[in-house]
């Protein structure tokens, strides 16, 4: 539409599209190496125990078994924040914790060997609830975490790393408020993002200290950095990425599995492939943190939030690698979503004897919004205010600011998202559908409809550093050197589009380097929504730098000044006298490549935004909640890949997104610590036959990011929806729901049709599910 772009914003198929639809794409799970062994993990059946004795003899005797390792056989590699969690420990802390590792010639033999390992345990009392875990006589998971409180703060974020939101004077704020409300909301369903390809790794150890690792996630370079610390800074690590069968954040940290594969390779001298089964994936790999918030909110009649004071409990399971980071970013994000001068919000991270929490799309902010937005809604309800208007009013505006994850105050220099919110409200028909608090939109027999709205925004679009090289070749082609795996967003093609646009080359003349940490510079990877601004900025700068060097060479040849040079499709020419033109090869000669370097420095002064409107239908007889329609609205600055963006935004439902408000949860038996639905039949997910209507309204107001004025928004699609659903169901029912997911039992309980309480829950568990 006259923007002059050839690729950016155009519906061009992804580079890997042909391979994906023909089955040629090799995910890590599809790969084999010569001489490869298979690894398996023996896991604890107890939530908390000391390993007294392990007898490996029988397992060793099985033909084809090459290694059996326990805590006694391995170096003291430790992960977690702080690094207190041993890769194999003498103590197990959840049902599924690793007890022994086996490498064998086939997967079947490795599997069989697990059963031949005899383990003697001393069983310890366990704790599964965060408030219980905080009690003085609660079982203690780590000596290093007295009271089961995980040390707050993230060293990587700097000395002032955000641990809480404390500013202004809350008492003064409450004094200024027209209403003060108080409540507790919990987002504790510990849903699993459940990417289809399970977590796994292939490792090859070469003595004395060289490790090559093939990984499946979105940040192959970062595994090298992380594992270097975990392995005592003594191991030389090279990582290879590749197509990743879904991550949604979760596989970013597969360090335990990677270490297991590395240890087995170290013990056998052969490459070892270690993949979790889907059951292990759901029972022993990371899930969302559980979150419970109790707070008081002060609000004025005009929707101004005057004070927020409360506690935020986060259950991280048996250890934390990133929960503190999620808290830090979440604490930043709340200030973006809810402008308030007086805060006293104090998080406490608790460890319990269940599977660990980890990274999931929404990174702390989704967990926080799910409790905080309903808490603020209580005040809106009391004042009779329209939540869409209040959320719009309180979302960060240019000139306002926030403390970000590093504890430093940043002034927001982006756009006002109000216009996008208005467009979304129009597309949804909010003005017609909103009837007031706790009032259904319509009633039809036993079916009641309700609407809700949520919002989310994240300054992570400019988070962390990226580096890239762009190398120009004399035949008029170029290669982007950036350590990237394709994990489903289509970004690997998008970065090439932006490089091609910058170099004015046809897209098929620009390619991407292999995702090898040895040939590529530092890359944090497309975590959160940072790809479009951060990674692309480094790539664009590298392309510009390469062109600058090429122009110098061309200018010499043509006898003009470098500033007079331009290029198109591999030709160099003078802007003033376009007749003066030579191909790249004539400027570069036969024996030269030209390489440009680009770096992106973190920038926290821009944020993205997503507002989601939902309409639900609740059957008051059965208690079932159906999602009828969803409108996601935002401004992307410039859409780089229209169809890819559509897919990412439709992704709001899955990967532990909106459906975590309706039916998605991991069911933990709180007596035994076993997960009851660790398979894809009992863990519920949305099918093709139950798709709501989705509309994505995305504006394109040029943003001050890079030359294409775009910012990333894909990741946050999941985040505003759950609290919107909670609001919609509460409105449909005429009473507040306080917990997710809103399964039929919770609806019927809220309507007084069944009794609540722990007994009922236990009975439901005995019947084989929570509903």
């Amino acid at each position: 539409m006259g923007d002059g772009y050839r690729f950016v914003g155009k519906p061009i198929p992804r580079n890997d599209a042909g391979d994906i639809v023909t089955g040629k794409t090799k995910f890590l799970i599809d790969r084999k190496m010569v001489d490869m062994l298979y690894g398996k993990v023996k896991r604890s059946p107890y939530p908390h125990a000391i390993i007294k004795k392990v007898d490996k003899k029988k397992a060793f005797k099985l033909k084809g078994v090459k290694a059996v390792l326990t805590w006694e056989d391995v170096p003291d590699w430790k992960g977690g924040t702080p690094r207190y969690t041993r890769v194999l420990d003498r103590k197990v802390r959840f049902v599924g914790d690793a007890v022994a590792l086996v490498a064998a010639e086939t997967e079947e033999i490795a599997e069989e060997a697990l059963d031949l390992i005899d383990v003697e345990y001393e069983i310890l009392p366990a704790v599964f609830d965060m408030e219980e875990a905080l009690k003085p006589d609660a079982p203690q998971l780590y000596e290093e975490f007295p009271g089961n409180i995980v040390t707050p703060g993230v060293p990587f974020f700097g000395p002032k790393s955000l641990k809480e939101v404390v500013m202004g004077d809350v008492e003064k704020g409450f004094a200024e408020a027209d209403v003060i409300t108080e409540g507790t909301f919990g987002y504790e369903g510990i849903p699993n993002p459940m990417p289809p390809e399970p977590p796994g790794a292939i490792a090859l150890w070469e003595e004395p200290n060289k490790l090559t690792l093939w990984v499946s996630n979105q940040s192959p370079y970062m595994d090298k950095i992380l594992l270097w610390h975990i392995m005592g800074r003594k191991v030389e690590i090279r990582t290879f990425g590749g197509p990743c069968g879904g991550s949604y954040g979760s596989k970013q940290m597969s360090w335990i599995t990677q270490c297991h594969a590395a240890l087995l390779s170290r013990a056998t001298g052969r490459p070892v492939k270690l993949y979790m089964t889907k059951e292990e994936h759901l029972a022993a790999f990371v899930m969302r943190p559980a979150s419970r918030m109790k707070a008081r909110v002060g609000m004025k009649k005009d929707g101004t939030v005057t004070a927020i004071k409360g506690t935020w409990l986060i259950d991280t399971g048996y250890y934390s690698m990133t929960t503190q980071s999620q808290i830090a970013v979440g604490c930043g994000e709340v200030q973006i979503a809810v402008h308030c001068d007086n805060w006293d919000l104090r998080p406490v991270i608790v460890c319990t004897n269940r599977n660990a929490s980890g990274i999931v799309r929404g990174f702390g902010g989704q967990e926080l919004k799910c409790s905080l937005l309903p808490l603020i809604s209580l005040a809106m309800e009391k004042l009779g205010l329209d939540p869409y208007e209040v959320l719009k009013k309180n979302f960060v505006k240019p000139g306002q600011g926030y403390f970000w994850r590093d504890g430093i105050w940043y002034v927001y220099r982006g756009i006002d998202y109000s216009k996008a919110m208005d467009e979304g409200a129009k597309a949804f028909g909010w003005k017609d559908k909103w009837k007031g608090w706790l009032i259904p939109t319509s009633i039809n027999g036993t079916k009641r409809r309700g609407v809700g709205v949520g919002v989310h925004g994240n300054a992570d679009i400019g988070e962390d550093a990226s580096e890239a090289h762009v190398r120009l070749f004399r035949d008029g082609t170029a290669m982007l050197f950036s350590c990237l795996s394709e994990h489903g967003t289509g970004q690997t093609t998008n970065f090439l589009k932006m490089v091609a646009e910058t170099l004015k080359l046809p897209l098929n003349r620009v390619s991407l380097s292999p995702p090898d940490s040895m040939v590529n510079p530092y890359e944090f990877g497309p975590a959160g929504s940072r790809g479009t601004y951060s990674i692309a900025s480094a790539a664009i700068r590298a392309a510009e730098d390469a062109l600058k060097r090429l122009f110098e060479l061309g200018a010499q040849k043509l006898g003009v000044s470098p500033s007079d040079m331009d290029t198109e499709d591999g030709m160099l020419f003078s802007k003033h006298d376009p007749e003066k033109r030579i191909p790249w090869i004539a400027a570069m000669g036969p024996d030269r490549t030209v390489t440009g370097y680009g770096r992106f420095e973190p920038d926290y002064t821009l944020t993205n935004c997503m507002m989601t409107f939902v309409e639900v239908e609740v059957d008051v007889e059965t208690g079932k909640v159906d999602l009828i329609s969803v409108v996601n609205t935002s401004d992307a600055g410039k859409i780089v890949d229209p169809k890819g963006l559509e897919g990412q935004l439709n992704g709001c439902l899955g990967s532990a997104g909106i459906d975590t408000a309706i039916f998605e949860e991991t069911v933990l038996d709180r007596r035994t610590g076993h997960i009851l639905n660790a398979n894809m039949i009992d863990y519920k997910w949305r099918t093709f036959s139950e798709l709501p209507e989705i509309k994505n309204v995305i504006l394109e107001t040029p943003m001050e990011s890079h030359r294409f004025h775009a910012v990333g928004i894909g990741e946050i699609a999941t985040s505003p929806g759950p609290s919107a659903v909670l609001m919609a169901v509460s409105n449909a029912l005429g009473t507040w729901i306080h917990e997710y997911p809103i399964t039929p039992d919770k609806v019927l309980k809220a309507l007084g049709k069944i009794k609540g309480g722990q007994k009922e829950k236990d009975r439901a568990l005995e019947l084989g599910g929570a509903r």
């Binding site: 042909g18 639809v21 995910f27 489903g488 169809k643 439709n650 709001c652 899955g654 039949i681």
Partner: protein, 176 residues
């Protein structure tokens, strides 16, 4: 040792499974050595591990997600729930066999999936395309509801479902 010999005498030689995959005939011996078919092997395992046809994906290995869908004599089956020993004499088509062998042209469904960007991570895509293929072979002009129904056993966590439905509609329109 003794036992093996006896079996050898009884059957003359090792039992074999004959099956055709993507038009190529295979004779696989039953046994537990590499390259052989064990009684416990699923079709998904044989395709991926023995025949190196890794286009067929496994996610749940449990009959829940449809990622492993292939065609058996033209009908969609879950290869993780099918034992290879049951496939004697069967014609199997996997995602690798959908292209026109002679011309190299993509199947219209594959083409439509590319045009609609009907995938994100792409892990579920082979299974969805094979389910769609079985549907269009049986019902060349399905309604949207029929498409949803036919794909209801296919998991897509990235939620490319909407674009996949559109792609199947495009492919069926072209087939008309």
């Amino acid at each position: 040792m003794e036992k093996k010999r006896k079996e050898g005498v009884r059957s003359g030689k090792k039992k074999k499974i004959k099956l055709s995959v993507n038009g190529i005939g295979y004779e696989l011996e039953i046994g537990d050595k590499p390259g052989e078919v064990d009684y416990g092997h699923t079709l998904a395992h044989t395709l991926r591990e023995t025949l190196n046809l890794t286009g067929t994906k496994v996610a749940c290995d449990h009959g829940a997600c449809g990622c492993c869908t292939v065609l058996m004599d033209g009908k969609a089956v879950l290869s993780c729930m099918t034992l290879t020993v049951e496939c004697d004499g069967k014609n199997i088509t996997t995602i690798e066999g959908l292209k026109d062998n002679k011309t190299g042209a993509l199947d219209p469904i594959q083409q439509a999936f590319i045009e609609h960007s009907a995938f994100q991570c792409g892990y579920c895509t082979p299974g969805i395309i094979m389910s769609a293929k079985a549907l269009l072979m049986e019902n060349p002009s399905p309604s949207k509801e029929e498409i949803k129904e036919a794909l209801s056993g296919n998991f897509c966590r990235c939620i490319s479902n909407y674009q996949a439905i559109d792609a199947v509609i495009t492919a069926s329109n072209r087939g008309r």
